[in-house]
């Protein structure tokens, strides 16, 4: 009856609004209500899920082997030498010894770790020219590289910018003492440490018949000891802008304390299964000064798993929040039961 009325009304009255569900705001809707009874199950489900994931993560993180060697103190004399910029061309070597108690099986990654190095400083982050690193011939004067764009005489720096300028340039070699006297160099890979996309898309050397000519007319950044085309003279695929060390460094870290992948273990010979237990020495050519900013430098040898490195936090976070959620679930259940009792009481005794 009412429907019919509406229809006829609409025919005769053009101004009568439509009675569509949308216009009348009567779309079918789900109206969840947040009360104890409705959310109880979801609390337990989510809580248990988190607990489970958390435990898995903790287990996997604990399977990671990692060793950190701080060489800031070991190489005190070198760092003192580097404090004065006038000694930039003096070479300084030092050694850091350490012992592996157990074998480190699997892929081993070698990182350098810097503390208090604010790579995420705003102006530092900006100070680069992606176009230049892509091998394009750009006028870096207009880029964000300033003041590390050109020398006063107008020679452009290659690569320009503060990031490139401050590149980590310690050279580290790892020696394994097969016995107490003979040490053999552990084979480390310089390649494949950077993102594939960086290496192949984002970074490219300027095209020319050879690399040194490509960099003609440019100069190395002031803090560098050698120009970009000499970064890795042995490997054409790792020289110039596509040098892995440079690429890794250019991917600025999120925090002031960070590690960057430096080398990977080449699993050959006796290192096929990883690093055997024993004594090792890092042979460090100390170039990178950190004392200025109270920084520390470490070297890290680590394995990785599917869930990252040795960081337990993710697992703990899951476990703790899973526990909290389950606990909250119990509290809610208790409240719910109590209230239901009360409710039935009220229902039985109205008023």
């Amino acid at each position: 009856m009412k429907n019919k009325d509406n229809q006829s009304a609409q025919e005769s009255n053009p101004r009568c609004p439509d009675s569509s569900a949308f216009k009348q705001q009567k779309l079918p809707a789900w109206k969840p209500k947040l009360t104890a009874s409705t959310v109880l199950s979801s609390f337990f489900v989510i809580g248990l899920f988190c607990l489970l994931v958390g435990i898995c993560l903790i287990l996997s993180a604990r399977s990671v082997n990692e060793i950190q060697i701080d060489y800031s103190d070991v190489c005190l004399n070198c760092s003192k030498l580097r404090e004065s910029s006038s000694n930039w061309d003096k070479e300084c070597n030092c050694f850091a010894h350490f012992t592996l108690q157990e074998n480190m099986p699997g892929d081993i990654f070698m990182y350098y770790r810097l503390q208090n190095f604010y790579q995420n400083h705003r102006r530092y982050v900006l100070s680069r020219s992606d176009a230049q690193l892509l091998g394009q011939d750009v006028n870096i004067q207009n880029s964000y590289c300033a003041p590390f764009a050109t020398y006063p005489n107008g020679t452009p720096m290659a690569p320009c910018g503060a990031i490139a300028n401050s590149m980590f340039n310690d050279t580290v070699q790892l020696f394994y003492y097969v016995n107490s006297s003979t040490a053999i160099q552990v084979p480390l890979l310089k390649n494949g440490n950077s993102w594939w996309s960086d290496k192949n898309v984002k970074f490219r050397n300027p095209t020319s018949y050879n690399l040194s000519s490509a960099f003609a007319g440019t100069a190395r950044p002031p803090y560098w000891q050698k120009p970009a085309y000499l970064l890795d003279e042995k490997d054409e695929r790792n020289n110039g802008y596509i040098n892995d060390d440079l690429i890794v460094w250019m991917r600025v870290s999120a925090f002031a304390t960070f590690r960057n992948l430096y080398r990977r273990l080449s699993r050959t010979n006796q290192f096929a299964d990883g690093l055997p237990a024993g004594n090792y020495t890092f042979h460090i050519t100390y170039n990178f000064p950190v004392t200025k900013f109270q920084g520390k430098k470490q070297l890290v040898l680590s394995t990785i798993t599917w869930s990252g490195g040795s960081n337990l936090f993710l697992g703990i976070a899951y476990t703790v929040s899973g526990a909290v959620i389950v606990l909250a679930g119990f509290v809610i259940a208790a409240i719910h039961l109590k209230r239901r009792k009360k409710k039935t009481y009220f229902q039985r005794h109205p008023k």
């Binding site: 009568c16 109206k31 892509l134 003041p147 996309s197 925090f255 200025k292 960081n311 959620i325």
Partner: protein, 1503 residues
């Protein structure tokens, strides 16, 4: 020919006295002066050749008729629009930030990118403006190209021109049903009387026709008006927007001038009706027309929510500054700590120099402002606007707010205050037309002291109560002629209403007018079958017939009519008065363009003294009564000139004396009149009774005319000089209409002066408010029996009038006066003087009218019912349950208002009513003090009660602050007292009293008072006020209120034009406020809060990062995400929720109006909620920042690979947060959330592969792709939102379980089983239930010394729940009476008389006794009613005196009059002194009061 006449005029004026020339000079001087001030406008004909004389000395260019409402041109759009947009502070802020980005030292983002959001928002607004402007342009264009006839000099005829080509000074010819293109001075009309009927519905919505008059001098032209010969100059005022005023002069070539007023002006936008053809000269054109000057466009109000929001925006600014300062200082310290060491990562400036820590800090401060800019929600304003537009759309679309009868729907005229509807606290309502239908229906009448109750009529009206029965009834009864007509008129009503509703666009007279001109081809009066088909009372009908029969007999026997019994003659005159004492115009439905003309002679109302002489000289009789119209025209013309000649030489007095002598001889005129009439009857009455349609200025008039028609006294024709009435047995009588003294609100009456065709006497019929008419009656001596009888009739009539008022009827008194010729002549003389005077014409005319309307003979009175609109009582009850305090402000008299208030449940019968009637400021003050003290004493008891009530109920925290409203009180205040109460010194008292009353009723209030009351409440109580009304008198109130609601009713569109919302019916207010208002408020409140949360949460993420990047202002979130996060990724779900979320279903909101209180108390958006949200945002941002931080701590993660998961987490958290807050999930909600998330990923993926170097300085290449292959990313994205939202989710759950809000309960209402539902309802209504418990019951009857009164007294006092023991001895308790109110029963005073309830009470001063007079039990006893007379009331007085109680008026000059209850109290100190002198004046009815007047003497206050 015209010039010839002019010359003649000049000749006649040849000997114009020097005085006049002086005056002329004086006037010219004044004119010159005025010209200097440029207060006038001079208009000349455009057809005149520009001669040296006619040359206008550089007059300022007058606007032509081109309509241009567009704001922009193609060129000016960009600068002008931008300029306007930058008036908004937010825009300036955002542009400032964007520009800051271009400064290299501080820039944070790619400068071009930073402009994007600002440009986007500016562009959106600009496009909106452009679109609006374009639609304005096209509608302007349409109107500009409408056509009209303009006189063309070259062609010497009227040519079709576009409206836009019309200019001031052009001559325009208009045909019937054409729309008037400009403001035109009427110069000629095809109507023989020089009238033009126009319909002003476009302008003010009034559908009745209005008459406009050709300038008199042009009317007298014999030939066709020729524009070429128009040489006069028109001086008039500058264009202004006053529709009801127009002043000017027309100066003829001869130097003579005629005054012009609004009667001569045709206003643009009106439509010509009933007139074949009119011609006029354009005075104002285009934008200077009154219609366009009246269009003020839409109003921009700022809603309360927005005001509150702006405060929080300011808080955000403060937070932003604090954050930036903190960062800046941090950065300064950070730089300082490295001082001279210059680490490599601290990049020096462009010039290679390192910044000093201070400078670095300053730069960083600016950078941080850019980085944190999203904290000031850039899109908030835009989002709010979008949401509001959508809300308005949905309100428009609501079927429940559509009125089928009038085919109109709700209109939102103000787009930006929808949420205010959800926060209203006070409703100020007009009564007539708002609560009632403004359909006046004749209900009953009393004639000559005898009441005709029209029971059948009452039953008929009751049947209309069923809204749907109307049509069916007609269908059932159809067949009779009248029924058929009623159907047609009913339909035509619909037509009108449709046109009404179409018009209510912003600009009347411009946009809609063109379209509506075609629709509105028909016109109607206020008539529906309900109003037209009055069932006559058989008794009265019988008497009318008898009366007519006897007159017929007498006439045939040539007996004088005076032989008729007084009663019958009164009845006869009564109906004559009903029929002719009005300004109703008769049209016939078949040919709407033609007036029904029954024209015998061409005469105008008596306008000049010579006219009077002409009409009353015997020569007219000798010249033959059957003189043809044409001859009479010429004679009148010639006589006119002759007369003026005579009058210039002979003194008027002597002429009049002569005339009187002549008139004395015209006794035989009666005979003549008779024969004349009978002769005409044969001609005049047509065989078929053609249905006539009445067009009245006010619905009351139409109702009376229809009522008379029901008694076969039908008005059949009205011309300016005569009224024709069809009478039973007598046929058609034609009354010569000598004068019409129109209605005005000061006199409150109108009169017509006619010559009675049967007696040839000059009769004055007056109709008006009873209060004024009763005072104007001929004082009758009580000695002579006739006078005594008359007096009795008067008192009886007064009693009936009171009775009508009790029934809520509108009362009108009808009176008559017979004038002798001499009286008339002398009055006429002064009247003509008044009419011709220029200086204070209005004042003199008013005085003249006063002189005429004295010594009246009372005929009877009518009661007209103004029916309540459908659903008003329910709506009021519901609104009140919703915690809204409803005040009714009406111009009606107190009794009527009170009764309507009862009828619509505004007042309750168990409610105590305080009535404030005071005559002076002092008494008002005293009265207010007294009432306040009384309430306070009552209230203190309540307080005890309330706490007790709360304890038992356990609902303490939820009781709203409005609980202080004492729901048992109603306040009635009349206009005079209101004026005092609104005085600066008293307004606080008045307010504190009023806000404790449940309802307030202000009677007899003027429009200004209405707006003052609203303003007072709005400003002093800081309350949200809503004013609703339908008429022009409500406009000021509507404009003052926070939200003005207009009712698109028959009284015109003025209220609608001024309003923010227009509803068809009062009852629609219920859904508008309770449902839409609530929704809009809660949606917007939630959205605004969410916005703040969202932005704060997002910005806090960046802030935390500053601790890890040396406060250097870097952000881990890519600039693209940062800038588009608000604009793209997170905007849609909140918009959908803001538009569509329903926190409680509509049915529940209507069913449980108490839920509305959440809006009033701002429960959804309170200041602390902002901070709660901020704290939640803080927590969530901490979680969303530090979980990824610790997860990626000490890893090789780079800045964007770490920032992207954070962005993702933030997006998830923000959307899930919204999901928790969303109460209703429709498909749109789901899809918007999913869409947002998908959009983010798609954009991120595309953005991260598209180009490795395109977006310097950020280089996000392949980041997202890489992340999506990393399980840690997913694990992070799961755990962070879970942890972040856990507290809120837990809180919502626990709150929903343990202490659910009313809204939450309401939401669940629908799904619960029945018993549980009732339980919830109980909980929701608990507040309401507790109120009656709190009511103090003033049951002192047991202590009442007068035991005989106690029974009835008790009956008055009983309230459902009572705690007599506690309240028995309450101090200063007047008694509350409950009056049983039954319609249809007579009211009388019970034999028990006034109940005197003395009571022991303790007084703060002494223990003396104070007396309370409990007064006025009104019982219903029809039989006693008859016997009740004035005399019977006097014994009361003796009772009072003998009773030994000192019955004292509180202040003698304050009558403290109340129909229902009365409280009289005297402070003990005054007791002894004033006992003797004071007699309390107590009346249940005003008649009693009046009778007591003698006793109280001058002390009493006339009300």
């Amino acid at each position: 020919r015209r010039t010839g006449e002019m010359a003649q005029d000049t000749a006649a004026d040849g000997d114009v006295p020097q005085l006049q020339k002086e005056e002329e000079k004086e006037w010219k001087k004044r004119r010159r002066r005025r010209k200097k001030e440029s207060k006038t406008r001079t208009v000349r004909s455009n057809l005149l050749l520009p001669g040296p004389e006619a040359e206008k000395p550089k007059r300022s260019p007058l606007a032509n008729n081109r309509l241009k409402t567009t704001k922009y041109t193609a060129l000016s759009f960009l600068p002008k629009n931008l300029f306007e947009q930058f008036h908004r502070l937010a825009n300036v802020y955002f542009v400032f930030i964007a520009l800051l980005n271009f400064v290299p030292a501080v820039n944070a983002f790619q400068p071009e990118l930073a402009l994007a959001p600002v440009l986007f928002i500016l562009a959106v607004t600009a496009i909106k403006d452009l679109w609006e402007d374009y639609s304005r342009y096209s509608s302007d264009n349409e109107i500009n190209h409408m056509e009209c006839l303009v006189y063309c000099r070259n062609e010497k005829k009227y040519m079709t021109r576009y409206w836009k080509e019309v200019e001031v000074g052009d001559f325009v010819q208009l045909r019937c049903n054409e729309t008037i293109p400009a403001d035109i001075l009427l110069l000629s009309s095809s109507d023989p009387d020089g009238l033009c009927h126009i319909e002003t519905a476009n302008l003010d919505g009034e559908t009745n026709l209005k008459q406009r008059q050709v300038i008199r001098r042009f009317l007298e032209l014999d030939s066709e008006f020729d524009p070429l010969k128009f040489t006069s100059v028109i001086e008039c005022e500058k264009p202004n927007n006053d529709l009801s005023r127009f002043r000017g002069y027309i100066i003829h070539k001869s130097g003579k001038r005629d005054g012009l007023d609004k009667e001569n002006l045709l206003l643009r936008g009106c439509t010509v009706r009933n007139t074949e053809e009119v011609t006029g000269i354009v005075i104002y054109a285009g934008h200077e027309t009154k219609a366009l000057l009246n269009n003020s466009g839409p109003r921009y109000k700022r809603s309360k929510l927005e005001r509150q929001m702006n405060i929080d925006v300011l808080w955000c600014v403060l937070i932003l500054i604090v954050m930036c300062l903190f960062s800046a200082i941090g950065h300064g310290l950070w730089v300082w700590q490295y001082s001279e060491k210059k680490p490599v990562f601290n990049v020096p400036g462009m010039d290679g120099n390192y910044l000093s820590p201070v400078l670095a800090a300053v730069y960083l401060f600016l950078t941080m402002i850019i980085v944190f800019q999203v904290l000031i929600p850039i899109s908030l304003y835009v989002s709010i606007e979008i949401v509001k537009v959508c809300q308005v759309y949905f309100i428009h679309q609501d079927k429940d707010l559509y009125d089928e009868e009038t085919d109109s729907q709700l209109q939102c005229r103000a787009l930006n205050i929808t949420e205010d509807l959800g926060q209203m606290q006070y409703i100020f309502s007009d009564k007539t037309g708002t609560l009632t239908e403004n359909k006046m229906v004749f209900r009953r009448c009393t004639v000559s002291g005898i009441e005709y109750s029209h029971d059948a009529n009452a039953k008929r009206l009751a049947m209309y109560q069923e809204p749907d029965s109307e049509e069916e009834e007609i269908a059932a009864k159809g067949g009779t002629l009248s029924q058929r007509n009623s159907v047609s008129s009913h339909q035509s009503i619909k037509v009108v209403h449709r046109s009404l509703s179409t018009k209510s666009h912003r600009r009347t007279g411009s946009r809609a007018e063109a379209k509506r001109a075609s629709i509105l081809s028909k016109h109607t009066a206020f008539s529906s079958p309900m109003e037209k088909d009055i069932t006559p009372d058989p008794n009265l009908l019988e008497k009318v017939n008898a009366c007519a029969r006897s007159i017929e007999i007498m006439r045939s026997h040539e007996q004088p009519l005076s032989q008729l019994t007084p009663e019958l003659s009164d009845i006869f005159d009564f109906f004559i008065a009903l029929t002719i004492c009005n300004t109703v115009v008769v049209t016939s439905p078949d040919q709407p363009r033609q007036k029904v003309r029954v024209r015998f002679e061409l005469k105008s109302p008596v306008k000049t003294i010579e006219d009077f002489i002409r009409r009353f000289t015997p020569s007219r009789l000798t010249s033959g009564s059957n003189s043809s119209s044409s001859s009479s025209l010429t004679t009148s013309k010639s006589m006119n000139r002759l007369g003026s000649g005579i009058f210039s030489s002979i003194s008027t007095e002597s002429t009049l004396l002569k005339l009187e002598e002549k008139l004395a001889h015209t006794a035989q005129m009666n005979n003549n009149g008779f024969s004349l009439q009978s002769g005409r009857r044969a001609i005049g009455s047509r065989p078929e009774e053609e249905e006539l349609r009445y067009e009245a200025e006010s619905p009351d008039e139409a109702a009376l005319v229809y009522a008379a028609r029901a008694y076969n006294c039908a008005l059949v024709g009205r011309l300016s000089d005569q009224v024709s009435v069809e009478l039973p047995h007598l046929g058609r009588l034609t009354f010569e209409l000598l004068h019409t003294l129109g209605f005005d609100s000061i006199r409150k009456r109108m009169s017509v002066v006619v010559r009675h065709p049967l007696t040839d006497e000059i009769n004055v019929y007056t109709k008006g408010a009873d209060s004024v008419i009763m005072d104007l009656l001929l004082p009758c001596s009580s000695d002579d029996p006739r006078g005594k009888h008359q007096k009795k009739i008067q008192s009886k009539t007064q009693n009936y009038l009171n009775l009508y008022a009790v029934d809520g009827l509108r009362t009108l008194c009808i009176a008559k006066r017979v004038l002798s010729k001499e009286e008339y002549a002398s009055w006429l003389k002064s009247h003509l003087e008044a009419e011709s005077s220029i200086e204070n014409r209005e004042e003199l005319l008013f005085q003249s009218a006063l002189r005429m309307e004295t010594n009246l003979h009372l005929l009877g009175a009518t009661g007209i019912e103004d029916r309540l609109q459908d659903g008003v009582p329910e709506a009021i009850a519901n609104l009140r349950k919703a915690g809204l305090q409803i005040w009714v402000l009406t111009g009606d008299k107190q009794e009527t208002a009170i009764n309507i208030a009862y009828a619509c449940k505004l007042l309750d019968h168990d409610e105590e009513i305080l009535t404030l009637n005071a005559g002076s400021l002092e008494t008002s003050a005293a009265l207010l003090d007294q009432c306040l003290r009384y309430i306070e004493s009552k209230f203190s008891n309540n307080a005890i009660d309330k706490t007790a009530g709360n304890m038992t109920v356990g609902f303490g925290p939820l009781s709203p602050p409005s609980s202080s409203v004492n729901s048992s009180l109603g306040l009635v205040i009349d206009g005079k007292t209101l004026a005092y109460a609104l005085d600066k010194t008293l307004e606080d008292k008045f307010l504190s009293l009023a806000k404790r009353c449940r309802s307030v009723l202000c009677c007899r209030s003027t429009p200004l008072q209405k707006s003052m009351v609203v303003k007072l409440v709005r400003d002093k109580l800081k309350a949200m006020t809503l004013a609703i009304g339908d008429g022009a008198n409500d406009v000021s109130m509507i404009q003052v209120a926070d939200v003005g609601v207009g009712i698109s009713g028959p009284e015109g569109m003025q209220a609608v034009m001024a309003s923010d919302f227009a509803v068809p019916r009062f009852r629609h207010l219920e859904k508008l406020l309770l449902v839409h208002g609530h929704w809009c408020y809660s949606r917007l409140a939630n959205m605004v809060l969410y916005f703040f949360y969202k932005n704060a949460m997002f910005v806090a993420l960046l802030f935390w990062y500053q601790f890890y990047c040396g406060f250097s202002g870097s952000s881990m979130i890519d600039q693209w995400y940062l800038i588009f996060f608000n604009l793209l990724f997170s905007s849609l779900p909140q918009l959908v929720t803001g538009v569509l979320d329903k926190n409680v279903p509509a049915e529940v909101l209507i069913g449980v109006p108490q839920l509305y209180k959440s809006g009033q108390n701002m429960e959804e958006y309170q200041p602390h909620m902002f901070w709660m949200n901020m704290i939640d945002a803080l927590y969530q941002s901490l979680v969303c920042f530090f979980i990824p931080y610790f997860i990626y701590y000490d890893s090789e993660v780079d800045i964007f690979s770490w920032g992207t998961p954070i962005t993702t987490i933030a997006l998830f958290t923000i959307i899930l947060h919204l999901a928790i807050e969303t109460k209703t999930w429709t498909l749109l909600h789901w899809s918007s959330c999913v869409f947002s998330i998908l959009l983010f990923f798609i954009v991120a993926l595309i953005y991260n592969v598209s180009c490795p170097i395109c977006y310097p300085p950020s280089n996000p290449y392949w980041t997202m792709e890489k992340l999506m292959g990393d399980p840690v990313f997913y694990l992070t994205c799961i755990i962070s939102p879970v942890v972040a939202l856990l507290p809120r989710f837990l809180y919502r759950t626990l709150q929903g379980t343990i202490f659910p809000t009313k809204l939450q309960l309401g939401r669940q209402l629908n799904r619960w089983p029945l018993d549980a539902r009732s339980q919830i309802l109980n909980r929701l209504n608990i507040k309401k239930e507790s109120i009656p418990q709190k009511l103090p019951c003033t049951e002192h009857s047991s202590q009442d010394p007068q035991s005989n009164a106690s029974d009835s007294f008790k009956a008055c006092k009983q309230t459902p729940t009572s705690e007599p023991s506690q309240h028995g001895y309450n101090p200063a308790f007047p008694s509350c009476t409950r009056v049983e109110h039954k319609t249809g029963l007579s009211v009388t005073v019970s034999p028990a008389g006034p109940l005197l309830c003395g009571e022991n009470k303790h007084s703060s001063v002494t223990n003396s006794q104070e007396q309370y007079l409990e007064f006025d039990k009104i019982t219903h006893n029809a039989s006693e009613m008859e016997s009740m007379s004035v005399e019977e009331t006097f014994p009361w007085n003796s009772t009072i005196d003998q009773s030994g109680f000192s019955l004292l008026n509180w202040i003698t000059s304050t009558p403290l009059f109340s129909r229902f209850g009365r409280l009289l109290q005297l402070p003990p100190s005054q007791l002894q002194n004033e006992v003797q002198g004071n007699v309390s004046v107590l009346g249940s009815t005003s008649s009693l009061y009046q009778d007591f007047k003698g006793l109280t003497g001058k002390n009493s206050n006339d009300f």
